[in-house]
Each structure stands twice: as C-alpha cells, then as structure tokens.
C-alpha cells in the first residue's frame, strides 16, 4: 500500500484532537502546556506531508520555524508558570480566576 497524504493527515488530525482533549481537560498548567506542544507537533506533520506531496520545500522551512517558535514559547510560558507558582504556591488553573493580582 503506498502512503498517500491522507495517511499523514489523519495522523495529524488525530494528534491535534488528542491535544485539544488534553488542553481542555487538564487542570495543571504545565500539563496544559504539554498538550499544547502535542498540538504544535501535529501541525508540523501536516505541513511536512503537504511539502512532500506538493513538491514544495517551503513546508520544511515552515516546520523549522515552528519548532523554533515553539521552543521560545515553551521557555517563556514556563517562566510565567514559575512566577505564578512563587506568587500563589499552586499551579491549578482553577485558582487563577481573578485578573487582579
């Protein structure tokens, strides 16, 4: 069986949906970030699949940039989580419902 683009697309969609389920159901802020990274990876698969099947190398360039941006975002997000932890001594999102510190 030759692999078509649809195989990779279904895999990407499945991982994206699992990421959505994780982001919406987790209460710990760091575990929400983990599911967010899963969603970013699913988008990478879809971009690479189309880069290959449309013979366009720009998809791989896009994926390189997405990985770099995801790294920057993870670093900044985790620094914010650290500051929240020092401020409130907890990481559950249920306790962050007031905008005023």
């Amino acid at each position: 069986m030759t692999l078509t683009v649809h195989h990779y697309l279904i895999l990407g969609f499945l991982l994206f949906s699992i990421g959505i389920a994780g982001v919406l159901s987790r209460k710990n802020l760091i575990l929400i970030f983990v599911s967010l990274e899963l969603m970013l990876n699913s988008v990478n698969i879809i971009f690479l699949a189309f880069a290959r099947h449309l013979s366009d190398g720009s998809g791989q360039i896009a994926v390189i940039f997405f990985i770099a941006i995801a790294a920057a975002e993870a670093a900044v997000g985790l620094a914010i989580v650290l500051m929240l932890f020092h401020h409130r001594q907890g990481i559950e999102i249920d306790q962050f419902f007031k905008l005023k510190g």
Partner: protein
C-alpha cells in the same frame, strides 16, 4: 514496507499522546510525550525530511521536553489523585471527538485526487535535503530567519528577567 514503518510509528505516537493526556504523574506524562516525539521524528524521516527529523529529536525531545522536566522537578509537583470522570473531562473528550470528525469530513472531496496519491519528494533528489533547505532558508526566507532569531533573543531576555531570584514574599 514504508506503510509498515508508518503504522508502527503512528501507533506509538498516538499511544504516547493518549498517555500524556491521561497519566496522573506529571513526570510520566512528559516522558510519554517524549516517546511520542521520538516516533514523530521517525515519521518525519518517512516524509524524506531528514533535517527536520534530526531537529525534532535534538530540539524537541532533547531540549523542550528536558525544559519541561526541569520545571516539574523544580516545582516538585505531586501525582494528581485518581478521581472519577468529571463533566469537564467528558466535555473535553467530546469536543475533541467532534473536532476530529469535522476535520476528517473536510477531506471527503479530496480522497481521489491524483496529486495526493503520487509518491513525490519535497526536493528534486532525496539526498539534497540539507543543501536545498539551506538555499531556501538563506535566499527566500532570510527575513523570516532574522525575525525568528530576534524572537529567540527576546524570549531569552524575557526568561532571564522573569526567572530571577527574588526575595520571598511573606
């Protein structure tokens, strides 16, 4: 043969993803995510994206996952207690299922398009991945490259300021 590798890597990736959203120990959930990322690197190799596969293993599993693990160990998070299924979880899984079905339905007109069934490569030859990527990166996308470098610099400065040692507030 390629289909066999694809299914092996895909099954491992999906099982790792499911584990990472359900495990109650944060360290175990992040390690399941690392397993998933490794098999995604294998899938990138199947897509003839050798450079991106190596970047995925080095950067994603080797730096970002390690960053997550360090943060979890720094905050000393505990295992989440085992609770019955809450309304929030059921609604989340239902919404994810609706999203998945919706996205697959969006594909329904394109199953028979020939452009999607031919086996092609992203670059003219399979061994020219890095040369062609370098050519694209530094000729067509050099501005984006500079901007991403600037973003990384800003992120580094922001993290250095935010993660400073401050006095304990009492």
């Amino acid at each position: 043969m390629q289909a066999l590798y694809f299914y092996i890597f895909a099954v491992i990736a999906v099982i790792g993803a499911l584990a990472s959203i359900r495990l109650r120990n944060p360290i175990n959930a992040i390690l399941a995510l690392a397993v998933s990322f490794f098999s995604l690197g294998g899938i990138y190799l199947l897509l003839a994206a050798q450079f991106v596969a190596v970047i995925q293993v080095i950067l994603y599993t080797g730096a970002i996952v390690v960053l997550f693990l360090f943060t979890v160990m720094l905050l000393n998070l505990e295992t989440i207690p085992k609770l019955p299924l809450t309304v929030r979880e059921v609604a989340a899984y239902g919404m994810a299922a609706i999203f998945f079905v919706g996205m697959v339905m969006a594909l329904k007109n394109s199953w028979s398009l020939p452009v999607f069934s031919e086996v092609r490569l992203a670059f003219p030859s399979e061994n020219q991945d890095i040369q062609m990527l370098g050519k694209l990166l530094f000729e067509n996308y050099v501005l984006v490259f500079q901007m991403v470098a600037l973003i990384l610099l800003v992120a580094m400065i922001a993290v250095a300021i935010m993660a400073r040692k401050t006095e304990l507030t009492q």
